[in-house]
């Protein structure tokens, strides 16, 4: 019900929305909770375990009860707090954890089984028989108990992440936050003021106190207008600061488009911010806490501060007849605000015996609230006066206040522990819990409006002086400055029915006492045993009361009992916002070569190589399997000519007077003797003596080299070269940079390779111009290119490199020319077969556990000079007969396929681990030699050529006898590449 003349909502702008399939109307400025309350809706949710009807309790993000699901289809969002969701004309919300609706829920039957569902019931009831747990109990419990559900569909709605930087981050825009931001803003500091609500002002919007002779809301609007006019101040509404991290970094979630009926297409739903602040002020206010009494979860039982907020800010009467229950003066403030709004107050129940009756209201001082009546909506409360007399007080709303808990969560995110303050019966932050962050106002346990403003301004002054800025004169306005008088009171003793602490997770005082009785006396154990504080609200309003009950049950004080740890995030954050930009291809960006389009156009299936995509094979009409295409491409290269994009290999440009000497140090073999126009194969070790990578390096000119790395290790090698240069060679004239993406490079392999090239080059070449392992500049189609005479196939081979922008054109031309010579494009499958036939290694072989000795390249470790990894490669155990050494395998008979990953055993030995002799790394069918081939590591393998081993693949069920041979199966003399 709306109250005439009250509230800050825009009565001239009605807004229609849907809840649980019914149409409602609210006003611009309403939350879903305020609009539903105004429409008389009392049940907004069902509880987690017992499916009890629940109404809204709070007016903020700490809401434990009114959790709803918003939206339909893939984008539906569960567990949205009705107190945070603003209404808009497209809003379609529904209750959850209930069927068919929150008003009638068949699972309500759970409430009857409550005696079996007490703390720890999972552990006690369902542990036996064990196999029933996964198949029967757990699915049933999960169906019956729970919160909202995800759609289980892929959601491609737009989320974002962003970064921001400031001198001072002010968290919260109540009286403390506004004064802090104003002080720092006037000083010219870069300020970010983050407010969780849609509107700045905090409690000033919800209370009736005047500030500087005007309403709190008007005063706040004036300050916000001044802040908005300052170019150095950034105002962020709908932004919850969720975590405090190292180095002054804060996480924050901004609800960007969730309040709009038709958000623009480019507007994200939410944005996750990382805010880096030199200083921060936490002015996040306080949460009012409930008192545990029998059936205190009835719809209509609300926090007193929330009742005042609904009356003063939204102009909504939460009930027609309200009773007020509390242990402090805020209860009296509530009575007066209700009276001013014309709402009937049926009684004030104050647990303090010395409470003074407000005018015109019946006071029950020192009374006990023994029960609340009305399953689907409060009808009356039953009170036992001090003299034992029972009074039934009619009310459809109970405004309750057990005191306030400072919102100090962020101060605990870096392991800080708050301290207990007896006078206000709550934990308050200790200074210095988060470096650079101070706490002001109610978050610091200072509750009066004037006190908050003073602390906010002072905190900003301190921050400004630490930042070396002058402090401007900011006058504090006149405002309420009353002391909070409170008597610690957590639960009504000896309740006849369950009394709730954690409403969201259905934890009662009985559960906490049961935990203590079963010796879960530590607050962390109690939490896990009862699930207290583990719901989406993380026990914001219930944790302190729960540990007070635990303290009582274990006969300790509250400070000794301690408090559970608060961890980020302060409010739930959707994974979509945290991982914004990481959905689909954002998770693994695609690196495409310049030939990509041409390969796809030829029907090549593309396979991933790291982030790169490379063609597997190029199917031709009539070829039914990849093997047919692959075999044809291998024969094509061996007999005619093939073209393959090798741009994905790492290319590192190395220059400087000391570049040759630097290469000597990173490679095992010598490069300083390499002459311009020559290319050399190099082997690179890690400092621990294990092979890191291999590849060729060309000398392009005096002091100018181009190193190639494998595709897989390109990043690692770049990192390594930078490390070696900076750590071990400071002062040397050597410079490195990756040019992988600047050059498109294509292999031209096969007996007709030179013939193909000469149809293209402006000046034809012969063997003398570019001999084997030579390189030089050539001109092709009017541009300068680099030509290298290197071969990964064993055939006459060239690689031609052009600036990447010419790659697509050159590739198409090369393939067309190759086809006119009876050749064509070849893919990764053929490339792999060609290199296995030649015994060339890849990272299948140099997989991080093999030494130069293992691959037969120990001769490449120069004795004349030091190099990275040399000392460690000489360690005992890294050479010798016991090492598994690279060998070739040929199955007997040749037609028997073998698989990589299979293990090797002596013939006749049982194929078990202790008899293991080695393993297979690469396999193929060789169309050149008409046999299956394998590369393998075999103990003492080089001495076992021409013997036989047993190959067993336990995984695929193969058992094949193989002949051990030299790993170079084809053209061992290398005449074809040199020819």
């Amino acid at each position: 019900m709306r109250i005439e003349g009250k509230g800050l909502v825009d009565r001239s702008t009605p807004v229609g929305f849907r809840f649980d399939g019914r149409d409602y109307t609210g006003f611009q400025g309403d939350t879903l909770a305020s609009a539903l309350l105004a429409s008389g809706v009392r049940v907004m949710g069902r509880s987690f375990k017992y499916h009890r009807p629940r109404g809204v309790m709070t007016a903020g993000s700490e809401e434990p009860n009114a959790l709803v699901t918003v939206g339909r289809g893939a984008g539906q969002v569960p567990n949205v707090r009705a107190t945070v969701q603003e209404i808009h004309s497209g809003l379609d919300a529904r209750g959850q954890n209930a069927w068919p609706s929150v008003r009638f829920d068949v699972m309500e039957v759970n409430d009857l089984f409550a005696p079996f569902l007490s703390a720890g019931f999972y552990y006690k009831t369902f542990m036996w028989p064990r196999k029933f747990w996964e198949s029967l109990y757990e699915p049933a419990i999960r169906r019956a108990a729970g919160l909202g559900a995800l759609s289980r569909q892929h959601n491609d709605e737009h989320y974002e992440k962003a970064y921001a930087f400031c001198d001072l981050l002010v968290i919260g825009s109540g009286p403390a936050g506004l004064m802090a931001a104003l002080t720092a803003g006037r000083a010219g500091a870069d300020v970010i003021l983050a407010e969780e609500d849609a509107r700045m002002g905090g409690r000033l919007l919800a209370e009736s106190h005047e500030v500087a002779g005007q309403s709190g809301a008007d005063w706040a609007a004036g300050v916000v207008a001044e802040l908005a006019s300052m170019p150095n101040v950034r105002l962020m509404t709908r932004t919850t600061v969720t975590g405090a991290y190292d180095g002054g970094t804060f996480g924050a979630l901004e609800r960007v488009g969730l309040h709009l009926a038709r958000p623009p297409m480019d507007l994200p739903r939410e944005c996750f911010w990382r805010i880096v602040a030199k200083r921060a002020i936490l002015a996040a206010g306080a949460h009012e806490r409930p008192i545990a009494f029998a059936n205190n979860d009835r719809p209509g039982v609300m926090m007193a501060g929330a009742v005042r907020a609904y009356v003063n800010r939204w102009g909504v009467a939460p009930g027609q007849t309200v009773a007020v229950f509390g242990n402090n003066d805020d209860a009296h403030r509530t009575v007066s605000d209700l009276g001013a709004a014309g709402i009937k107050v049926s009684a004030l129940i104050d647990v303090r015996e010395d409470a003074v009756a407000p005018k015109g209201v019946t006071l029950h001082a020192g009374a006990r609230l023994v029960d609340a009546v009305g399953r689907n909506g409060l009808r009356e409360v039953i009170v036992a006066d001090r003299d034992g007399k029972i009074a039934r007080i009619p009310c459809d709303c109970l405004a309750m206040s057990g005191g306030w808990n400072p919102v100090l969560h962020l101060t605990c995110h870096m392991n800080g522990r708050p301290v207990w303050r007896e006078d206000i019966a709550t934990f308050v932050p200790k200074p210095g819990m988060v470096p650079g962050l101070t706490v002001a106002g109610a978050a610091n346990g200072t509750y009066s409006t004037y006190g908050c403003m003073k602390e906010g301004a002072e905190a900003a002054s301190v921050a400004l002086s630490e930042l070396g800025r002058a402090q401007p004169k900011v006058d504090l306005p006149e405002a309420e400055d009353g002391a909070i008088r409170l008597r610690a009171y957590w639960e009504v003793p000896e309740p006849k029915h369950r009394a709730w602490l954690d409403f969201a997770n259905d934890v009662t005082t009985k559960d906490v006492r049961l935990a203590a009785q079963e010796n879960f006396r530590s607050v962390e154990h109690m939490k896990r045993y009862t699930t207290q504080g583990m719901a989406p609200d993380q026990g914001k309003s219930s944790n302190v009361a729960a540990l007070a009950v635990l303290a009582d049950a274990t006969g300790r004080g509250i400070p000794e009992t301690g408090i559970t740890t608060f961890r980020p995030p302060y409010v739930p954050i959707s994974v979509a916002a945290l991982g914004a930009g990481g959905q689909g291809k954002g998770l693994a960006p695609e690196r495409l070569t310049t030939s990509h389009q041409a390969s796809v156009a030829r029907g090549a299936p593309m396979i991933e190589a790291g982030l790169w995509y490379r063609p597997s094979y190029f199917p031709r009409p009539g070829e039914k399997t990849w093997r047919e295409s692959c075999d044809r491409e291998v024969r094509m290269v061996r007999e005619r000519v093939g073209v393959c994009d090798v741009s994905t290999l790492g290319k590192i440009d190395i220059q400087g007077a000391d570049a040759g000497r630097f290469l000597d140090f990173v490679y095992t073999n010598t490069f300083s003797t390499l002459k311009p126009g020559r290319v050399r194969y190099g082997l690179m070790l890690r400092e621990d003596g294990i092979v890191m990578d291999d590849g060729t390096t060309a000398c392009l000119g005096e002091g100018h080299y181009l190193m190639t790395t494998t595709t897989a290790a390109a990043g690692q090698v770049m990192r390594h070269l930078d490390f070696v240069a900076q750590a071990h060679c400071p002062g040397w004239d050597v410079h490195t940079i990756s040019v992988t993406e600047q050059w498109a490079q294509f292999a031209i392999a096969g007996p007709l390779g030179r013939e193909l090239l000469n149809t293209l080059l402006e000046s034809p070449i012969d063997d003398a111009a570019i001999p084997f392992l030579g390189c030089g500049k050539v001109r092709v189609m009017g541009i300068e290119a680099r030509l290298f005479r290197i071969s990964f196939s064993g055939e006459l081979g060239f690689e031609i490199a052009v600036p990447a922008r010419y790659g697509a054109a050159l590739y198409r031309d090369l393939v067309a020319r190759a086809e006119s010579l009876g050749g064509g494009a070849y893919g990764m499958e053929a490339l792999n077969v060609l290199r296995i036939e030649k015994g060339f290694i890849t990272h299948a072989e140099i997989h991080g556990r093999v030494t130069a000795f293992d691959i037969g390249l120990q001769g490449m470790v120069s004795a004349k000079k030091d190099c990275i990894g040399k000392a460690a490669s000489e360690r005992p155990g890294l050479t010798g007969q016991e090492r598994e050494q690279l060998v070739g395998l040929k199955p007997v008979p040749a037609s028997k396929p073998i698989g990589a990953g299979a293990h090797l055993f002596d013939e006749g030995a049982e194929p078990v681990r202790v008899n293991d002799q080695g393993y297979v790394t690469s396999v193929c069918w060789s169309p050149t030699l008409n046999t299956h081939l394998g590369l393998a590591f075999l103990k003492n393998g080089r001495a076992r050529h021409a013997t036989r081993v047993r190959l067993v693949d336990h995984l695929r069920g193969a058992d094949v006898v193989c002949e051990v041979v030299h790993p170079v199966f084809f053209d061992a003399e290398g005449g074809r590449a040199r020819g």
């Binding site: 180095g247 400092e687 900076q726 750590a727 071990h728 000392a871 460690a872 000489e874």
Partner: protein, 93 residues
């Protein structure tokens, strides 16, 4: 977490690649010895001040030695690896 790259200034953690304790940059001279074993395999695990290596991979490619506290996470100093003064230096000129 933020790291101050001596060349680029204050930058987000995500731009850097971590590489363990900075003693790894103190390469012994000569063939295999116990000093090599220490370099490769032995690391302190201090609760408190430590120096470690970070590579500004998504920035300027500088290797940086960072002094930080493993308990408080406070970073007290950063410097270019190329400009530090190590106890001993391998790779003779």
């Amino acid at each position: 977490m933020r790291l101050n790259c001596p060349l680029c200034g204050d930058r987000d953690l995500r731009e850097f690649t971590y590489y363990g304790a900075s003693v790894y940059a103190d390469r012994p001279e000569g063939g295999w010895s116990e000093a090599w074993d220490d370099l490769l395999h032995l690391r302190d695990n201090p609760a408190g001040e430590t120096n470690d290596l970070w590579y500004h991979e998504l920035g300027c490619s500088a290797w940086i030695e960072v002094s930080r506290n493993t308990v408080t996470h406070a970073i007290s100093d950063t410097r270019l690896l190329a400009e530090r003064k190590p106890a001993a230096k391998g790779a003779k000129a």
